[in-house]
Each structure stands twice: as C-alpha cells, then as structure tokens.
C-alpha cells in the first residue's frame, strides 16, 4: 500500500492524529530550545558531519582497526552480509548457550533484520525491554518512531493491553501506575535471561569499545545480569576516536528529545569476568548505499529521530504510513535504496520544505536526497496521473487563447460540478482540502473595470 493510502487510515481518527502532530512538534520545540543554549551548536553539527565524512571515506580501514582492538579486548566479532546471515549468527550464539529466552533493548537494526519473528520461529522467547517497544510488542506492532516507539498510541490503548497482558486494573490509565507494572514484569525477565541483545549507538575504532545510550537503563539491566551480551551493529556506526564521542553525545540527546544527554551512556570495552560480549557487524545494503554518490550521506545518520519530529508529513501521517522500518524523512531516503519498488511512494511523502535538513545533527541533505530519489523513480516508472495533468497544463499555459477559454470553462464548471467529481479519488489533491470560491470575473476583467 502506498504512503498516501496508509496516511489516510491514520487520519481517520482526527483527534488522535492532531495529538500526534502537536506532541511531536513539542519535542521538536524542546530540541530548538536546548540547541540554542549551546553557542557552538552549528559548529558541532559541522564537526559531526566532517567526522562522518572521514569515516565514510575510510570505512574499511576503520572497521579493520575496530575489529583488531575489540578482539584484543576479548570481544567476539562476527560479520554478516545480510539480515539472514545476521539472524543465523545470533541464533547460533543462543544455541551454543542453550538459551531459550532473551531480553533485547532498542535496536532498529534488529527490526531491520526482522530478528524477533526469526528467533520466535526457532523457539526463542524475545522480550523487548524498552517500555515503548514492550508496549508495541504486546500489540504485535513494529515501532512507529525510532526514538518514541509507541507515540502513535494513547494511554487508553496502553491501559487496555496492560490489563490483558499484565493484569493491571481495568481502566487505570495513570502513566506512573502503568510504568511500574511494566517495571515489575520486566525485572523478572531481566533476572531470568542468560543472553541480552542490544543495538549500538557508536563503535570506536581507536579503542574497540562501543557505546549504548538509554534513558530507562534497560540495555544495562539486561546485559549486566546476562552471561552473554550480543551487540548488533551496522558497519556505518563506526567513529574514529574516543574524543569524537564528545561531539556526538552532545548532539544526540539534544536532537532526539531536547535533553542534554541520555541518563545512561554505557561504554563497553571488554566483558566482565566470566562473561562474553559478541558484536555482529552488519552490511545489509549499506555498502551498496555507500557506492551511490548522491545517497551515501544517508549513512551518517545517528538515529536521533529529529527529522521525524519536525516533518509536517510525518507528524500528520504517523510512522506506519511509511511501511518501512525507519519511517520519516531519513527512512524515505534509506528505504528506497533497499527496495525501490516497494518504497517508491516514500520520497514523495515530503513537502521538500527542508526542515529535516535544518535539524539533522550530522547535516545530511535529506530533502535534496528526497528530490534525487524522485528523479530516479520517475525515470524508472514513466508517466502517472499527475504528470499527465502537468502536460495538459503546460499546453494551456503556452497558448494565450487556450488559457482564456479554459479559465472561463473552469470558473463555470467548478460552480456546477458536483463535489463527487471535484473530490473524486482521481484528484488526490482534493483530499483534506477545500477548493476556494471561484471569482466571478478574471483578473484581466477586474483590471479593465477598476484601473484602466
């Protein structure tokens, strides 16, 4: 289903979609306030972008250095060319440890690989431990936002699913009460899991360490109680030096939620005594994207979600309308690279206003890449309804007589035509919009009367 079709589903509940729009704008606003409190903000963005440029132009040597250092720190390194290989590697580690139940903290990469259903098919219970992710997991839904996974839900929905799954009081919608019910439920899971999976925010080539950021502390609750920690990492998450973390940690949380830093920023360098750390390095289309000169900058993304919070389309259409693991503006330039046919409507889910580019902490030219994808897609697909109407319009505007006649016809026709035609399914523009009242006379006629 295309983005517009799914967006209209989301817009059916107008109160909820209005709340969604306003809430994400509130997060965007918090980001603005806190970024303005740092005089060097723009310089930090430029530095982050330059560091990532350097990484992308030396990725192979940084990966080799990262691997060497991590191995010297007693970390096991695995390489996966695609999602299938990634999932097999994770499963084989679980099988070695006879592990049938795992806890997992937020990792967009494992969503990308569809790790949960794969492990479940192989008899492993997967518990997502980020509160928002646990909520959507109970509902068999994917996250609708990469930082705020359950932002599409209201507390009423969460209260209902918690009543069913965690036996909370029926109708009790108090966020504190519901969060504490989840705390009790998940603590049991943390204490019982032998293997914990996390994502990776940054991997440092210089030291072989990796950093995971959370506010809830769920990643750490999982890994420090488990015997084995599996960290799933995209190859583009590498940064060269430890001190580069100073730049990225200043930018990440401020861009994501408007807070100065996440409450827990864990640096994993070597396993605790008697324990194991595994890193799975995943390609899955990243090297292909790196080879596309126009689109490789999308690999700089640090997954803060700022482009979603600011996007007028995302805020009004919801994360699910994109039908891709990473939604919003950044998802709309990453996903077509993975499957152009499936995601061909995404680059059009944008006003090209450029707000995404303005807030991006690593200065990805998101709206320009959206425009570039549109060029690729139209080259690929040829004409559609909109381009036909544009061609007709072109003919009319080119011939003054045709313009005059057709203007008169339209002024007459719009008054007579029933709404069913003006707002028909063929005219997607007519959705959620009202046509203006048609004037009685043309501007030319008005000018003649009043000014000549």
């Amino acid at each position: 289903m295309s983005h517009p079709a799914k967006a209209s589903e989301f817009l059916e509940d107008s109160a909820k979609s209005k709340w969604h729009d306003e809430t994400l704008w509130f997060v965007r606003d918090k980001r603005d306030t806190i970024s303005k409190s740092i005089p060097e903000w723009e310089q930090l963005r430029e530095l982050a972008s330059q560091i990532k440029d350097n990484v992308l132009s030396n990725l192979d040597s940084y990966l080799v250095e990262f691997e060497k250092k991590a191995k010297a720190n007693n970390i096991h390194i695995h390489w996966a060319k695609d999602a299938e290989e990634h999932n097999q590697i994770v499963l084989s580690i679980l099988q070695q440890h006879r592990c049938k139940a795992i806890v997992k903290s937020k990792s967009i990469l494992t969503e990308e690989c569809h790790l949960n259903p794969f492990l479940e098919e192989n008899g492993v219970e997967v518990v997502d431990t980020d509160l928002g992710e646990r909520i959507v997991q109970f509902l068999n839904q994917p996250p609708s936002h990469i930082v705020l996974p359950a932002i599409h839900l209201k507390k009423r929905d969460i209260s209902e699913i918690f009543h069913e799954k965690l036996q909370t009081e029926k109708g009790n919608e108090d966020p504190t009460y519901l969060t504490h019910a989840a705390r009790v439920h998940l603590r049991e899971k943390f204490l019982g899991a032998k293997v914990a999976i996390t994502g990776v925010n940054f991997g440092v080539a210089e030291t072989g360490e990796f950093v995971v950021c959370t506010n809830e502390g769920n990643a750490d609750m999982g890994v420090h109680l488990a015997d084995v920690h599996i960290a799933c990492m995209g190859i583009e998450k590498i940064i060269p030096r430890r001190k580069d973390l100073g730049v990225f940690l200043r930018l990440l949380a401020r861009s994501a939620t408007g807070q100065p830093i996440t409450n827990y920023n864990s640096h994993f360098r070597s396993p605790a005594q008697g324990k194991q750390i595994h890193i799975v390095l995943l390609d899955n289309g990243r090297t292909t994207q790196l080879g596309r000169e126009k689109f490789k900058n999308s690999l700089k993304c640090i997954r803060c979600g700022a482009c979603m919070n600011t996007c007028p389309i995302y805020r009004r259409s919801g994360g699910y309308s994109y039908g891709s693991v990473v939604p919003g503006p950044i998802g709309s330039i990453l996903s077509p690279g993975l499957d152009l046919k499936k995601h061909s409507s995404l680059p059009f889910a944008s006003t090209l206003c450029g707000s995404c580019t303005d807030v991006c902490p690593v200065k990805i030219n998101i709206h320009e890449q959206l425009y570039e994808w549109r060029q690729e897609i139209t080259k690929d697909q040829g004409t559609n309804a909109k381009s036909i109407s544009m061609k007709i319009a072109n003919g009319i505007f080119a011939v003054p007589f045709a313009y005059k006649v057709s203007g008169a016809i339209m002024r007459g026709a719009l008054k007579i035509l029933p709404d069913s035609i003006t707002y028909s399914g063929l005219n997607t523009w007519g959705k959620q919009r009202d046509l203006p009242e048609t004037p009685k006379e043309t501007f030319k006629e008005w000018y003649k009367k009043n000014r000549s």
């Binding site: 990966l63 390489w79 966020p175 969060t179 809830e216 609750m221 420090h224 100073g246 409450n263 090297t287």
Partner: protein, 188 residues
C-alpha cells in the same frame, strides 16, 4: 570469500575522495561549574545533597539493605557486595564514588572500579553518588580529554535516575533502574 572479506572488498572497490578528520576545539564554557552541574542534575530529575541530608535520607526511610562502596564517610553499608549480580535484586541503596562530573549535562563518569558489579548502579532502588566538587569539568570535550586512554572494561556516563516518557510523553521516574539519583557533592 568470507562475509568479512567480501564486505571489506566491496568498500575498497568504491572510488572515494579521502576526507580529513577534523580536530575538535575545547569549546570552553565560562560558567560556574558547581551551579551549572547542580542545575543539570535537577533537570535530569536527580538531586544534589550534602552529607547531612544523605544521613537523614537513610534514617527516615529506614533502609536496611545498603551497599556502600564509596569509602568516603564512615561505612554506611549494611551488606557486602555479593559475587553474583542477581543477588543485588533487593538492594535498596547503593552508595558509590564518581570520578568526575560534567557541568553542561550532569553526567558523572564511573568505571568498573567504582561499581564493583556493573549491574549495581542500575539494579539498586536508589543510587547515591559521592562526587568531589573539584572534579567538575565544563563539557563533554573536557570530559573525554580527562578520560584519555583510561583502559576501563566498562565505563558509564550516568546523568540521572532511570526514566521514561513512552506513555503519552508523560515523564515517569523509575522505569527499570534506580528510582532516584542523589549526588553528594563534597569539598575535601
């Protein structure tokens, strides 16, 4: 070819113009470090207290399961650090020492030697960190300069209690980890 080699070969085959790695300025902040740090901790929903307030906190709540690794005051602990992190499940208060704090965001640097067991600052119901006022630095650049090549197996910037806003963006303290963070600033 192994996946490792094929991934690396694929990257190598892409013609790229080498981009230089920029140097990072200090971005020094001219601020009162202590005031800024206290404000940051408050913003992160933690509290800054003194030693008397710590004693009061422990007394009023009549905690009986306290682990004190801070070696800062008289030992306030009632429990020894166990062998297995699972035995920390009932700990009410953990008191540990922080290496230094960052004024711009309230982050406190901790490594294995401060935590005893890595799970401790997360699993405890309440966390108390003792921090020397003179250890404060202004921002994250100064922080990583201070860390330098310190070879810790696990390092943590901890900036507040466990929190979440995943239910309708309402802030709730105490998601999975510590329900409170109290920082005792000392000036020894």
């Amino acid at each position: 070819m192994s996946s490792r080699d094929s991934i690396l070969a694929k990257i190598k085959a892409i013609p790229t113009e080498k981009k230089p790695l920029p140097e990072i300025p200090d971005f020094e902040l001219n601020i009162n470090l202590k005031e800024a740090f206290i404000q940051s901790i408050k913003g992160n929903k933690g509290e800054v207290i003194d030693q008397a307030q710590l004693n009061e906190f422990l007394e009023i709540n009549r905690f009986t399961k306290i682990i004190d690794l801070s070696k800062s005051f008289q030992d306030l602990g009632t429990l020894d650090l166990p062998q297995d992190a699972h035995d920390l499940a009932d700990v009410e208060v953990a008191i540990i020492k922080g290496q230094f704090g960052v004024a711009e965001n309230g982050a406190i640097w901790l490594t294995d030697e401060n935590m005893g067991l890595r799970a401790l600052p997360f699993i405890t119901e309440h966390l108390v960190i003792v921090l020397d006022e003179k250890s404060l630095v202004d921002n994250m650049h100064a922080a990583y300069y201070k860390i330098g090549n310190q070879p810790s197996g696990f390092g943590l910037f901890l900036a507040g209690p466990s929190k979440t806003a995943d239910i309708e963006q309402s802030l709730v303290i105490g998601a999975h980890g510590a329900k409170s963070l109290q920082v005792v600033l000392t000036n020894l």
